[in-house]
């Protein structure tokens, strides 16, 4: 298949690995930001193919993983009301809130529906004028434009039964929080290709300037990732903390200007709470005042208690690249995809889930 097979080609992969092997002289800790990238690394075993000096740690770029439990509790609370239809993406259905997940709420009679696009949620609202349709909108800069578009469209059509329950997160403030933490080990970042496709490269150039850390935009196929790693190794070995775009078939310098325009019109940047990273200033989106009629947080009175944390789960350290899933005593024992203790085990993009899905054979051997 075109645009796919060439980026999974074993000969090209071998060539890139050889180039990296020749260049590397010491230990480097690199973080891939996006969960989709973690998924590819584990699926193809890229970390096992790389020379031992390259340590990959997995970043917070899994939207499901960093969505706070409280937002799920709010979604479940809404879903259980008689007159509300709660609509969201498939992989949000299994993410645990503090007592239930949306699948269990659905099994108990809540009207919960799965869609691929927020515009489908809009269609459900149009077709069911007697229902209040709430779209649970989570994700990074990638999913935000479509969510913004749904609200913009609802406003244009004067739909009065569509609402957004939003928990949007932004990548650059998370990178700032990671590199400015005293515990930080990461020496170079693979920036998320899809996010940069939307927002462009400027913010990442600024991060390189501010923190003297190399950042290379990478794609999601094995060749894309190894190419990004190869460039990062060159920059690190030469002591040049620079920015590079190694995913130019998708990412332009300015990004998707139309998408940025709709984001700007509908959302404003606000403080945001991240599961695992806590509250990060100016790291999320909320609906602007003129769209307040579509803001589920403002329209519906929500009374949600904060939940207690199981002490054993180390996903906070995992999402900050301080530990690996296999460092956790609960991993694969008390915590599995069927009964996850923490969000990184829930989403297929979560680091713990990727290790569990693809690496269990090596764990069996170790045991």
């Amino acid at each position: 298949m075109k645009y796919l097979d060439e980026y999974r080609d074993a000969r090209i992969v071998k060539g890139l690995l050889e180039t990296i092997r020749r260049k590397v002289t010491r230990h480097w800790v690199l973080m891939e930001i996006c969960g989709g990238q973690t998924h590819t690394i584990m699926r193809y075993g890229l970390d096992e193919l790389l020379p031992p000096q390259i340590e990959l740690v997995h970043g917070p770029g899994c939207p499901v993983c960093v969505t706070p439990a409280s937002i799920l509790d709010r979604a479940i609370d809404l879903a259980q009301r008689e007159d509300i239809t709660l609509v969201t993406y498939g992989d949000m259905l299994r993410v645990p809130g503090s007592r239930l997940d949306l699948f269990s709420a659905k099994a108990r009679g809540a009207d919960v529906r799965m869609v691929y696009s927020p515009l489908d949620a809009l269609r459900i609202a149009r077709l069911n004028p007697q229902r209040k349709v709430v779209f649970l909108a989570v994700g990074f800069e990638t999913t935000a434009p479509a969510n913004a578009m749904a609200v913009w469209q609802a406003s244009r059509e004067r739909l009065d039964n569509f609402y957004l329950l939003a928990s949007h997160v932004l990548v650059p403030p998370a990178i700032r929080a990671l590199v400015s933490s005293p515990e930080n080990r990461v020496q170079g970042f693979i920036a998320p290709g899809h996010v940069c496709t939307v927002v462009g490269c400027k913010d990442y150039e600024d991060l390189v300037q501010d923190y003297n850390v190399p950042i290379v935009v990478g794609g999601f196929e094995p060749v894309d990732l190894l190419q990004a790693i190869s460039v990062l190794v060159t920059l690190l070995e030469q002591g040049h903390p620079e920015f590079a775009n190694e995913y130019p078939r998708s990412v332009s310098y300015r990004g998707n200007v139309e998408a940025q325009r709709i984001l700007e019109e509908v959302f404003e940047v606000a403080d945001q709470s991240w599961r695992g990273l806590g509250e990060i200033p100016l790291s999320g989106f909320r609906l602007r005042e003129k769209f307040a009629a579509y803001d589920a947080d403002k329209v519906f009175a929500l009374n949600i208690q904060e939940s207690d944390a199981p002490e054993v789960c180390i996903s906070a350290e995992i999402l900050r690249g301080l530990k690996k899933p296999t460092d956790c005593s609960a991993f694969g024992v008390a915590c599995t995809p069927e009964s996850p203790l923490g969000a990184p085990m829930v989403s297929s993009e979560g680091a713990c889930s990727a290790y569990y899905q693809y690496r269990r054979h090596s764990l069996v051997t170790i045991q």
């Binding site: 298949m1 796919l4 999974r8 074993a10 989709g36 584990m42 699926r43 193809y44 075993g45 890229l46 096992e48 193919l49 939207p63 439990a69 409280s70 993406y89 498939g90 949000m92 299994r94 645990p96 809130g97 503090s98 007592r99 239930l100 699948f103 269990s104 099994a107 108990r108 799965m114 691929y116 989570v138 990638t142 999913t143 929080a177 933490s181 899809h194 599961r275 990273l277 806590g278 509250e279 939940s307 207690d308 199981p310 789960c313 996903s315 906070a316 008390a334 069927e338 009964s339 203790l341 923490g342 297929s348 993009e349 899905q357 693809y358 690496r359 269990r360 054979h361 069996v364 051997t365």
Partner: protein
Amino acid sequence: MKPLDCPLPIVDTETILLGHGSGGKLTAELFRSVFLPAFDNPVLNRMDDQAQLEIGNMRLAFTTDSFVVKPLIFRGGDIGSLAVNGTVNDLSVGGAKPLFISAAFILEEGLPMETLRRVVNSMREAAARAGVQIVTGDTKVVEKGSCDGMFINTAGIGLMRSDLHLSADQARPGDVVLLSGPIGDHGIAILAEREGLSFETDMASDTASLYPLVADMLSTGAPLRCMRDPTRGGVASACNEIAQTSGVGIQLYEEAIPVRAEVRGACELLGIDPLYIANEGKLLAIASPETAELVLAAMHKNQLGEGAAVIGQVTTENRGLVTLRTSLGTVRVVDMMANDPLPRIC
């Protein structure tokens, strides 16, 4: 930084979840914790697609299945052809010649008579093609909203050769894994027509009776170990069942697994692995290394097995697990499906 507010695990055992019907881990768990202890007997405990019964000198295969597919009519088939073929295939993979089928209809008030006629006609055609007769049945009608148009329950009886013992516990290290053709066609054809996921594709369901293919394979005289039709849960779940029941490892070769370009494309788009997608006309077989070539040649001669390939082998390593050798030469686990494949956010 504030400590993680990580939620407690949610293991809801008080209600049935959709995942309990996915053919993956939750289904297996439900079977082990509820049905197996209640109905415990040696025939059921074999956990094959069909019960193998000995009555006097006769060996019979007996199976039952329910069909709740949505939409009722899809490209390549409908709930009727699916019900007949699915029942026939559950018998065939035990090596039985399918003979008789029952059909019970649960109809929703308001279902157009035209839809029922179409489905029944398609059952008649599928039964004729498979050489089986629909000899008994039942009809119930439920109030509007109590079922999704139409559900069909079937049972099937087939006759087994006395010398055949095909079962999921027969795989041995060194055996070869054979697959009759490209995977994922049925699942993608259905997904393409689901509400909310509609996308354009020419993919048609592969629903078909596998008996002619099974008969050709058996006529080689090769002692086959086990056969499965990888329906819900796909090839991944069928291989996991065999690996666990036989206490062996199974290694699949990524590059050898046939997947049509259209299915691959749809899977890439939806973020789903074709190994977990349902098939309704594909056969997975485990054969001894000495006879694999003979069996493969017989498969290739049958239209249903034109695209047959060796896709893996049974190993002593990683017992109870299925692994995949990727195109890059690395090895990863192919887990049993935990839930229905969920479309990802991005």
